[in-house]
């Protein structure tokens, strides 16, 4: 009787070891898949960690007077412009943009999420998430995988590379830990950004296998020079845009939050961080396509 019981237990023990081993394999595989940012077999569309598709409307609860109206010339308070940036902003004349056919300068990639309006987001193909805007009738293409092609001509919306977020992504920091620069004043002229780049970053990337996160990171380069706001606050053709898309459902309503970081040493003392949020709407009702305009907020 005891022997029989022992035999049963032995089989149970072996089964336990088998299932435990299987669990480890499955878990390791799961962990590896997530770490690699996509299933090895699935397309970005099929393996998207969050769904941003659909229609969205911007809800302007902050920076209202910079977004819902055209701010006055020279009103660049809170943007960390350097001296060249201020000179350029002070020289802004909307009629010049109109004459030169540059009406879309304030609808470029660095500004378009900040311009009040509606978005339609959908997969153009398995690797490309597309954002259409009714304000300025712009189209952004977020390319999953790869990098910006060489010798591509700059466009208002530049070239965007998308991927799901990773832990401890390095960004440029500035010296010191005080309050915000933010005032655009000459007293901050010598407060230059320092790059947390080069060997330090490389070492960290080599030593550290990042754990993926569920937000969408979009990096945009190859932009034509444009405006951060409607009143001629400049960003240059060398600007690099980093955007972080996230979504959250609150009280039955789905929201999309976008944190935008503009890196532009030509005109900015430090990276400028902007925010915008969008409410999901059921369809395209209210879609109001407008051309690029130099004298309208959208």
């Amino acid at each position: 009787m005891e022997m029989q019981s022992g035999s049963v237990t032995l089989r149970t023990g072996r089964m336990f070891l088998f299932v435990a081993g299987l669990s480890l394999v499955v878990a390791a595989n799961l962990s590896g898949q997530i770490r690699n940012n996509a299933s090895p077999t699935g397309t970005p569309r099929a393996t998207a960690l969050k769904d941003f598709t659909g229609y969205w409307v911007s809800v302007v609860t902050e920076d209202w007077r910079y977004r819902m109206v055209v701010p006055d010339k020279g009103d660049y308070v809170d943007v960390p412009l350097n001296a060249e940036g201020r000179r350029t902003a002070n020289a802004w004349e909307p009629v010049n943009d109109q004459t030169a056919g540059n009406q879309c300068k304030s609808y470029g990639a660095a500004a378009i999420m900040y311009v009040p309006g509606r978005l339609h987001i959908y997969w153009q193909d398995d690797n490309t998430l597309r954002i259409d805007t009714d304000s300025g009738t712009q189209t952004r293409l977020l390319h999953f995988g790869g990098s910006a092609p060489e010798n591509l001509a700059p466009e208002w919306q530049g070239y965007s590379v998308a991927r799901w977020g990773e832990e401890n992504e390095p960004i440029v920091q500035r010296v010191g830990g005080g309050g915000p620069v933010g005032q655009g004043g000459p007293e901050y002229e010598n407060q230059l950004p320092v790059g947390n780049t080069g060997a330090n970053r490389q070492d960290r990337e080599e030593d550290y296998k990042p754990v993926p996160r569920n937000y969408l990171k979009v990096t945009t380069t190859l932009m034509r020079p444009g405006y951060l706001r409607k009143n001629g606050i400049p960003y240059s053709g060398n600007a690099r845009l980093e955007e972080y898309f996230n979504r959250f459902t609150y009280a039955g309503q789905t929201w999309m939050f976008v944190t935008t970081v503009v890196n532009d040493p030509q005109y900015l003392i430090e990276p400028y961080i902007m925010h915008s949020h969008f409410k999901k709407i059921p369809d395209g009702s209210g879609w109001d396509p407008t051309p690029c305009r130099v004298d309208e907020p959208r």
Binding site: G6, S31, V59, V69, G176, P180, N196, R213, F257, T259
Partner: protein, 296 residues
């Protein structure tokens, strides 16, 4: 014989399976590290009296805002010692220090603490319930949180005393609840606050702010002194404007060439189609267009 003796233990081993699986995949589920010093990148909070733009105030909320005068800052209960997080984190640029509190026995996170020069907020992570309705209300409220989608710390704060949304009088009631999201995007920390107030707001009021990781920073300790009642203002007095008597209310709209109505907030003003509506609205003649030329 031996196997017979360990029969019960085998059953226990089965219970270990889920734990084993969790440990194996631990790296995939590790939460974001929020701890450390964060340097603020908080812009645009220089609101004037009469600037309630973007705030979905209802009629009562607007009436309360209109009644506010700067003298109210001299009231002991409005001193900066009491700034709640939904005001202080947004309008008062300050370094931010976040640290977690661990249970010494289990090493599980019991709470996160947010410390700035103006406030200390505790976010309980141990699943404790919110206090009953009759419990003491405080300026910081009571916060509990949990991780969502592996990358977002979501916490809800309620049990507030009445407080302000802005430093120029837009009010938030004691019945409000604030749902906050903390996201770390590399070395950027973004805090999103969704303020829901059934008394003074018609829609959720959303605010976002960011900080940058600054390991060498040292956040200041909190210093504040509450003036004794009667020292700055006569004891018992609460300065305020009666309805229709706030003579500063339209200054902001005139200076920026806005229709007065649009500057006073309301949910309708926060949607893009309001831009078209504003074209048909009356506005007073402008007095200046050079408000921020001081650096130019």
């Amino acid at each position: 014989m031996r196997f017979a003796k360990v029969d019960w233990k085998m059953k226990d081993l089965w219970l270990l399976l889920p734990l084993l699986t969790m440990l194996a995949s631990r790296s995939a589920w590790a939460q974001v590290d929020l701890n450390g010093e964060w340097s603020p990148r908080i812009y645009n909070d220089n609101r004037d009296i009469g600037d309630y733009t973007g705030i979905p105030l209802n009629e009562v909320g607007l009436l309360r805002a209109e009644s506010w005068t700067p003298d109210q800052d001299a009231l002991p209960e409005n001193g900066r010692c009491y700034w709640p997080a939904d005001l202080g984190l947004r309008v008062a640029p300050s370094q931010l220090y976040i640290y977690q509190e661990l249970d010494s026995a289990t090493q599980q996170i019991v709470a996160y603490h947010l410390h700035t020069a103006w406030l200390d907020q505790t976010i309980w992570m141990d699943g404790r319930p919110h206090p009953p309705d009759y419990a003491l209300r405080t300026y910081q409220g009571f916060s509990t949180g949990k991780w969502q989608d592996k990358d977002t710390l979501v916490y809800t704060t309620d049990h507030f005393k009445e407080g302000f949304l802005t430093r120029t009088g837009a009010i938030r009631s004691s019945k409000a609840a604030v749902t906050s999201l903390i996201n770390r995007y590399g070395n950027i920390l973004t805090i999103t606050m969704i303020i829901d107030d059934p008394v003074y707001l018609t829609e959720p009021y959303i605010r976002e702010s960011s900080w940058v990781y600054a390991p060498n920073q040292v956040t200041a300790t909190q210093h504040c002194e509450i003036p004794a009642e009667g020292t700055l203002l006569p004891a018992g007095s609460v300065p305020s404007f009666l309805p229709g008597q706030n003579d500063s209310l339209s200054d902001f709209a005139i200076e920026y060439g806005l229709p007065l109505e649009s500057a006073l907030g309301g949910a309708e003003t926060t949607y893009p189609e309001y831009i078209k509506k504003m074209k048909t609205m009356k506005r007073a003649p402008r007095t200046t267009t050079t408000h921020y030329r001081r650096f130019g």
